[in-house]
Each structure stands twice: as structure tokens, then as C-alpha cells.
Amino acid sequence: MSSNLLVVENLTVAVAQKKIVSAANLEVPFLSVTALVGGSGSGKTTLGLAILKLLPVGLNVQQGRIWFDGRDISGFFEEKMRLLRGKEIGMVFQEPLYAFNPVFSIGDQIAEVLRVHTSLNLRQRRLRILELLNLVGLPDPKRAAANYPHQLSGGMRQRAMIAQAIAAGPKLLIADEPTSNLDVTLQARIMELFRKLKDELKLSILLITHDLGMVSHMADRVAVMTEGKIVEQGMVKDVLKDPQHLYTRTLMETIEV
């Protein structure tokens, strides 16, 4: 328990009687990159959202506990969760174009997070925004901050999104398919960025993805999910060397690792 930042115990999420995630157990150790791998519709995104209690209306957590940083957050109400979101758990969404509000500039939207979670004043916030945008590798932070989401390219948007997610200094970053809309070279660069941020900011990352190739490069631990169940979990090299579950083997056959 003590070496894990996030522990999901026996979590079941269901809509009406149909289970989307059934009895999932997941551990994210401190300062690790843990990958959650699965095909489309396997429930991996739902699991990610369930951790933050951002499930869409109709989906309910039926049972299970979520431990974050030694606290049981499964019983937290909205108000306490709000302090957790952004501040301690950051989330990077799949499509940064939709995850930004089109009518505010990037800088504004990062400032919003800082305003909620920190006590910085206007000038300090401005400096911090430039610092963050620089940290995620945007070439011209000043311009990027003044730009609107549609003015940035896909890769830059994703970087801006990451800057927003780490703005308040979270301990855990949940990245939901952060690279699936980018081309291969960009994917590699964004992944590099995640690695860098992890070391510099002492982050732990839960990487939700369907790309085993990326997992083998990036992650320390991997959990394989299919049809709402986590069927295999362990260190990446062990799992990939000797996959126990049929589904993991099928996944591996589809790509060259």
C-alpha cells in the first residue's frame, strides 16, 4: 500500500445492470508510468473517469474502493473531489481541440486552473503560465498563451493541454490516449515529454492507451484490460516477455514489439 500512489480495489462501474468495468484492481506506484491497455470499448476510459468521479450520467460505481495517496477517496463528495481534481490528479484528454473551450485563449484557460488551485496573483500567474508552456516545449510561450485553441497545431494543442493538466502541480497524471490523434513522430515526442515531466515534477502517470508498442517504450507497469476486466497486470518486461492471458498474446501478435 505504501509504495502505491493510487490503488483501485475491486471497482465495478455499471450502467443499469450492464457492467462496463467489473471488479477492476489497479495499482499505480509512486513515480511510475503505469499503462492501462485495452481495445476500444474495453472500459479503460471509464475506469480513468471513475477515478476522478467524472462518470457520465447513468454510469454508477457499484462497488469498490479507490485509494489515493493513502486516502480512501471513494467516499468523497463533490466538494472534496473538486479539490483533488487538477490539484492532485491531472487529466489529459484524448482530443485537446474539444477539451479546450474555443472562445478563450490558452493562457486564459491555464490561468483559470491556477486561480482555482493556487494563491498566485495576476502577475505571478502570467509568469507561471509562460513557465509551464516553456516546460512542455512550446517554442513561443508568449504567443501560444495568447492563441486560441484552433490556432495551434495538434501537437502544440496537446502540449498546451498537458501544461494545463500539470499547472496546479498534481501528483498523478491520468493521460487518456494522449497521442492517438497525432502522427508517429509527434507521438514519440509527446511521450518523451511525459518522461521528462515525470522526472522533473515527480509525477506518477496512468497512461490509458491501446498501443502496446508505446507501452513497451514508455511504461514501467502495464495492466491489460478487456471487456471490463483487468486480465493481467505486472511489470512491462515480464508481461511482454511471458504474457499469461490469451488477450495479451493476441494484442502482441497484432504489433511488432
Binding site: 476522478l52 467524472l54 473538486r82 479539490l83 483533488l84 481534481r85 487538477g86 490539484k87 491531472g90 487529466m91 484528454f93 482530443e95 474539444y98 477539451a99 479546450f100 473551450n101 474555443p102 472562445v103 478563450f104 483559470e112 486552473v113 482555482v116 488551485h117 486560441y148 484552433h150 490556432q151 494545463q164 493538466a165 496546479a168
Partner: protein
Amino acid sequence: MRLCEMVMMVPGFYLLLALRAAVPDNFNSLQVYFAIIIILSFIGWAGLARIIRGMCLSLREREYVLAAKGLGLSDLKIIVRHILPHTLSYSIFAVMLSIPGYILGESGLSLIGLGIQDPYASWGNMLSDAMSIVRIKFAPWILWPAFFIFLTVVCFNVIGDALRDCLDPLLKGEGENT
């Protein structure tokens, strides 16, 4: 929202007449004028409210609302910062387009003598002089108020249209990207 529908169900002009009848006779024109405004807004809010509600219901499913929630913003902040601004362009447009409606409503009331009374001028009560064909024959210039009402209504419509074109962020964004 049922309340909105009930308000919308009542035919506007007749309710206007009925409510106007409830206003005491000894009001002077200024008071009558404000009474008319209150009555008009009382029947006018429902349509816009319903549309804004519908827009909010659709906007709250947007991914950036989820993202904003994921960043720890409170519901109020999300409503004020991320949902209402998107309804603003429509609201301005709708307000612009409804101004002519109210002008017409006021003129209509004044025309039939229920609105603004004589010492005060209104296009409506000026036009009420033009209600008989004989007068128009001998003094055709008393039809001018009708022309001005027409002009004002058209102007507000054009302004409303132009405003929407330049305010709508989505239309703008589409031009520059993709």
C-alpha cells in the same frame, strides 16, 4: 419549463390587452409606458428561456465542460465561464430581433388607444389618426409614422443579423482552421 410553455401558449396580444385593462385608468402616459414594458416582458421571456435551456443542455455535454470539471472548477464557474458565453451570441441576436416585436407591440397598443395617450407622442398613436380613409385622402403625410416603424424594424433586423455573424465564435473558427 412547463411554466414557460404555459406562458407561451397564451396568445400574446390578447393577454396584452387583458393585462392592459388591469392597469388603472388614472395612470399618466409615462406610467402606462412602463406598465406596457412590464407586460411585454412578462409574456416575452418564455421563448428565449426555453432556447437557452436547450443550448445549455447541449453545451454541458461538451468535452471541455468535462475537462473543466476534471481540472477542479466548481459548477458555478463552469456555468459562468464555459456555458453562458456560448449562449451569449444567440442571446444578443435574439434580443436584437425581438426589439422590433416590442416596438410593434407598443405601436399596436397605442394605435388602438390603449398605450401612450395624446400629449405624449408615439408612432402608434400618431398612426391612429390615419385610421380613416377620408383623412388619408386629405392629409396623406399622417401615414409617415408607419413608414418609420417599418424602417426601424428592418434596421433592427439587419443589425441583429450582422451582430450574430460577427459574434458567433464557431462561425469565425471554421473560417480560419481546417
